[in-house]
Symmetry: C2
């Protein structure tokens, strides 16, 4: 076994855990938190709930919400200026993957200067970041756990993958109650994102025993909870999905991802599609592409998904992929690429960009841009 | 589900990982590490290997090895003076549970002043500790992962349990090669300690999905690896035991332990017995005591240990306990309490002390000191 690293934030998990946000910020030395969130969270009342918690602990705060889905380099630059102007000293992100990734981008530029583009790739951040406390409002992105930040380069129309241990927030406060105000389709899309994290990290070429156990736990929980979430997203089900998303976050943060996420980043950068909606389209095709190269592991996933014992690894692996396709279809999720992007003429460009994504490096089967194009064509 | 916390150090795991010790110390701002180890590690050559690594990165170091098995309050006090006199700025522990716990005690007093006794119990440390990098040389204690430190109060002849999130080292460097020079019986004793961590944390009343998955993984690996380790402690087997010990450490650090460890601390404080040798004696009796109150979980452990499916939870639980007793016996481990302590007249005192141990608070079945005495009598 190669030398491996495993790094996760301190985690506070449970219903009502939002109330610890101020104490956590203070424990990290914060006196003036910058809160990063978005209009949806504000309208749902969570931002003001957070303000109340901060105020009651005597903290002054400033608030930044210029964040869209697939957060942009320009928003990061504005946010870093905002942080400096308000003399903030800790960053609290409240939201899904977009506010959390925006907050990471802001932390990078606030702590290191320059432009966010300077830090694209792996391990290019050399100075400390402001302390970060993250409160995820979706069970999927795993940004509250991971050392990844994905920021859109608006000029090049691509998503930059930034990876650094310093991007692991200091504390992740996971309060499943925040999910209760989330639109139903976003809950499901986030759960599929978490499933993709679990599957891709499990078959990653740098998976370790520390990540594999988390990947499989996440697959197991999501396979059970996703159909129930589709029926009725009760708090116990949302809590289960939060546990799974956290486990998947621990796994992919340390084992990285694969071709599905490389393509998802590329598609998201070019067409601004919702990240969570890409995986129901791409994941089965990517799993089929990888199956032969990671047959034992893919069979293990198949066994968990189908809940059956299989004597033949290939059959188990393929049964798992079919099980997923049927699930996505029964949930009414998009399952053809043509439902997501306007026309197929851009696919070669998408695939060329994806072939440079850091996530592709850990895919169990090496993939050229032509391989990726074949995957996209299968999913078309 | 109650609000739960999960906190672990950054982990660097693998053969040869010791070489990262200097870089880790420097990353934490260290310029003059204080190395805490013991004569056994020095004689095996590991201490000088570590010095070479530190020197080659331009670090000056100072060295402290006044540490015995079941480290003492007096050694902690001397160590804290040593840290101050040498103007050290980071603590590197290299060794088993004893040097690591001694290093934690030294860090507490170095950072907070006073005597180590001032911090007995939970959450009584209020000021920051020096950064800590730990290199475990046994796969068992979990001290490199956990928020626990156990220090002997020499006057009261008891082990003080100190619990604080600040006792989680910043970085744990787990290099299984360090285990190759460990005497065989110590490898086995440490593995049984890790197994006790896994079992007790799994049935703990504050176990969470984040700890349970680690507990079960540890049980599974140890059940497979311990018999192989008894035959031939090859590097792959030692690596597996290290993975299991790390997983068990993640679990018990966050879910705490139970009656077996409460008694082990009390026995260790009074008779200076080797901590790792207590569990083969006590764990089966404690599992029997707990079985009815945690039957589903104990059955799960039984299924993993025996590798069989059982329709009846009670039978599965008891079969697991028997499987363990047979294993310990076949390994030639001590399995009667009378083999460990001179005479039974002190047992009431041992059990009264154990009834105040913090670990007992999370045992699934409440236990009075008389209950503990009955357990000891069963194990006598």
């Amino acid at each position: 076994m190669q030398i491996t690293k495993f790094s996760i934030p301190e985690i506070i998990f449970g219903r009502g855990a939002l109330k610890y946000a101020a104490l956590c910020a203070k424990r990290l030395g914060g006196e003036k938190p910058m809160v990063v969130s978005d209009p949806g969270l504000r309208e749902a009342g969570w931002v003001s709930r957070l303000f109340d918690v901060l105020t009651s602990e005597g903290l002054q705060w400033c608030y930044y919400e210029d964040v869209v889905s697939n957060p942009r380099d320009t928003q990061v630059a504005h946010g870093a200026l905002f942080y400096a102007e308000h003399k903030a000293d800790v960053i609290i992100a409240l939201g899904g993957g977009s506010p959390m990734d925006a907050a990471k981008g802001i932390a990078i530029v606030a702590g290191n200067g320059g432009r966010i583009h300077d830090y694209e790739g792996a391990n290019r951040i050399h100075r400390p970041l402001p302390p970060m406390v993250f409160l995820p409002s979706t069970a999927g992105s795993g940004s509250d756990i991971s050392q990844f930040a994905i920021i859109t380069d608006t000029r090049r129309r691509l998503k930059m993958t930034i990876v650094s241990r310093t991007l692991v927030p200091n504390i992740s406060i996971i309060d499943p109650v925040l999910l209760t105000t989330k639109p139903h389709h976003l809950v499901l899309a986030a759960a599929v994102d978490a499933l993709a994290h679990a599957v891709e990290s499990y078959v990653s070429i740098i998976a370790s025993p520390f990540t594999e156990v988390q990947s499989l736990k996440a697959v197991e929980i999501i396979a059970k909870s996703l159909p129930r979430a589709a029926q009725e997203p009760s708090l116990p089900v949302l809590e289960s999905l939060s546990i799974a998303s956290t486990a998947a976050g621990m796994a992919f943060s340390n084992a990285s991802l694969g071709a599905d996420h490389a393509l998802a980043h590329s598609l998201g950068g070019m067409f601004d599609v919702l990240h969570g909606e890409v995986h129901s389209v791409l994941l089965p095709a990517v799993m089929r592409f990888n199956a032969e190269r990671a047959l034992t592991k893919m069979a293990q996933i198949g066994k968990i998904l189908t809940g059956k014992t299989w004597r033949n690894d290939r059959k188990a692996a393929l049964a798992g992929i079919e099980w997923l396709e049927n699930l996505f279809s029964s949930l009414g999720m998009k399952h053809r690429l043509r439902d997501l992007v306007p026309d197929s003429s851009h696919l070669p460009t998408v695939c060329r960009m994806a072939s440079h994504d850091a996530c592709l490096l850990t895919n169990p089967r090496p993939a050229t841009w032509e391989d990726l194009l074949a995957i996209c064509e299968e999913a078309w």
